[in-house]
Amino acid sequence: MTLKKRILLVDDDLDFLEMHKVVLVNHGYEVITATSAQEGLEKVRAEMPDLIVLDLMMEKHDAGFSFSKQIKSDPLFKKIPILMVTAVADATGFKFSLEKDGYWMKTDEFLDKPVEPAVLISKVEKLIGEKED
């Protein structure tokens, strides 16, 4: 029996936190949640998740960026893939691409909110699969 993969959701919007959780739990993942960057960092240290789904903009507008930077610059955690989600990219016309922005935006995948459940699952599977390889 393989161990359940653990996913940490970090989002200050409780609706997104829960809707992502119910989808992921239904697909057999163990889900831990945090509603702030600070709480997220604590949970990473305590739980060592296999993947992080991170909201770009939280209480402070750049909280997501600094969070991912902190994770990716820590030798202990940098292997943990990060899936960044945001509700603002379309509204601001600020388009990210991993090829172009990857060097400064330390993240592995990027999605606009709301994320379709099927897309969320496929991205999560892909990132966790890559980590295994």
Partner: protein, 495 residues
């Protein structure tokens, strides 16, 4: 001119008078005669003569004196001296006094005719010259007036005006341009632009127009930073052309668009803020619907219903946000005028406490009020007052702790009625306190996250209070509670 020419003969010899009259009448002139200087002068004063034949030797006013006086009346009149004592001296003297010609007695009708004809031609030239002179004087006057009017007009303009000639020298300007460009020395005209202005981009733009070969363009607009970096000027520069389209100079009109730019910036910021605030709940609603529709969460009917309820709750908050935005818009555009009338705030507060009762019960918060009974009614808009106190009291309930309380107090303080809303809630820390009246500002932390709110409630409250010439104050202590005080001016008593 012949037929219209009026001729006067002044001579004491009747023979001369009659002879001349007959000869000249035959040629079609209108001829009068006078037998002495005094009568002659009288006639000149009564009628416009073109030409006068004057005998020098007359009793009373002599010929010389008459010539002098006649020219005083009409400088363009032609005087011809006729005399028997023809000497060079008298002729010179008469000419000095303004006489045009000299006809020695005795003379033939033909000689008279030639002299008169020549004299009348001269008269015509003199009148023409006088007319032209008058016209020129009038034109000069008009020009001076026009220039003065132009200077006055451009002097009054709030926009800056600069006119440069083809050589790039300044020929006309107004006070606004001096102020906008903070120029040195606009005291004299005709120096190159660089003498007055140190704004390099503006000088380059004007010279570009002056040196342009393009025949078609009529104006170029530039945004130009002023010396003071906060100020932005819009420069409209137009070439002045002659009939062939050749450029003679350039007119520059400067407008300070700093405020406009600032307003545009604030507008864009507001729009992007609103878009974000609207998109987040929309995305959450859609997210829940997708969870249910896709079946990826694998919920049963009961769970699906719960998730749909989450979408419903979020759409309620979205609706509240749109409503609040509409309230702000209504107040800022003044589309619906406030209906000011006497309002008893106590009644409004009691009504709101009643309405919010179930809400308070749900939060396990008790409400108590101590409202002075004799509080006068104030001039206010009922709807605004309801909105104001609903926002403040519902905040006091929402941000309270379990088993907390809300205390409402109303009394007169100085020239104001003062209402205080005290709660025993989570309070507001000093760093958030200065921002709580800003659009969409919410003191986000672990405890406020689960409390729904648009971030516009206090913005609206403060706008309402301001529009009623009152003020709103807040004191707060984290974990102890907040006190919001609303001061609304008492109505001025008419007696």
């Amino acid at each position: 001119m012949n037929t219209e020419a009026n001729i006067l003969i002044v001579d004491d010899e009747m023979g001369i008078r009659e002879g001349c009259k007959r000869a000249l009448s035959e040629e079609g002139y209108a001829v009068d005669a006078a037998e002495d200087g005094k009568t002659g002068l009288q006639k000149v004063k009564e009628k416009n003569y073109d030409l006068i034949l004057v005998d020098l030797m007359m009793p009373g006013i002599g010929g010389m004196e008459l010539i002098k006086k006649v020219h005083h009346c009409d400088p363009e009149i032609i005087t011809v001296v006729i005399t028997g004592n023809a000497t060079i001296e008298t002729a010179v003297e008469a000419t000095k006094l303004g006489a045009y010609d000299y006809l020695p007695k005795p003379f033939s009708p033909e000689a008279l005719s030639v002299v008169v004809k020549r004299g009348l031609e001269k008269r015509m030239l003199r009148l023409e010259a006088k007319k032209l002179y008058a016209e020129r004087t009038q034109k000069m006057l008009e020009l001076v007036n026009e220039r003065s009017r132009l200077r006055t007009i451009i002097g009054c303009m709030a926009d800056g005006v600069l006119v440069a000639n083809l050589e790039g020298r300044l020929v006309l300007w107004n006070a606004s341009s001096v102020k906008m460009l903070k120029s040195k020395g606009f005291d004299i005209a005709g120096e190159p632009l660089e003498y007055y202005i140190s704004n390099e981009p503006l000088i380059v733009a004007i010279k570009e127009i002056l040196n342009s070969d393009d025949q078609d363009f009529s104006m170029i607009s530039h945004e130009i930073p002023a010396q003071d970096e906060k100020v932005i000027l819009m420069a409209n520069i137009a070439p002045v052309r002659d009939e062939d389209g050749k450029i003679l100079g350039a007119v520059t009109v400067l407008r300070d668009i700093t405020a406009l730019k600032e307003i545009n910036k604030i507008k864009s910021q507001f729009v992007s803020m609103v878009a974000h605030e609207l998109r987040a709940p929309m995305a959450a609603i859609k997210g829940w619907l997708e969870v249910v529709v896709s079946g990826e969460a694998g919920g049963d009917a009961e769970q699906n219903k719960q998730w749909l309820q989450r979408a419903m709750d979020r759409s309620d908050s979205l609706l509240a946000l749109v409503d609040d935005l509409l309230v702000i818009n209504r107040m800022e555009t003044g589309k619906v005028a406030q209906k000011m009338g006497p309002v008893k705030i106590n009644d409004i507060i009691l009504k709101i406490v009643d309405l919010l009762g179930p809400d308070a019960e749900k939060h396990k918060v008790s409400i108590a009020a101590e409202l002075a009974e004799d509080l006068p009614s104030i001039q206010a808009d009922v709807r605004d007052m309801e909105k104001l106190f609903t926002n403040l009291i519902s905040n006091a309930i929402k941000y309270n702790r379990k088993n907390g309380s809300v205390f409402l107090e109303g009394k007169v303080e100085g020239n104001f009625v003062c209402y205080r809303i005290k709660d025993t809630g989570i309070g507001i820390s000093a760093e958030h306190l200065s921002c709580i009246f800003d659009d969409f500002y919410r003191a986000d932390d672990e405890r406020t996250k689960k409390i729904p709110g648009t971030g516009l409630g206090l913005t609206i409250a403060s706008k309402i209070v301001n529009s009623h010439f009152g003020r709103i104050e807040v004191t707060s202590e984290p974990d102890k509670g907040s006190i919001f005080s609303v001061f609304l001016p008492l109505e001025h008593r008419k007696d």
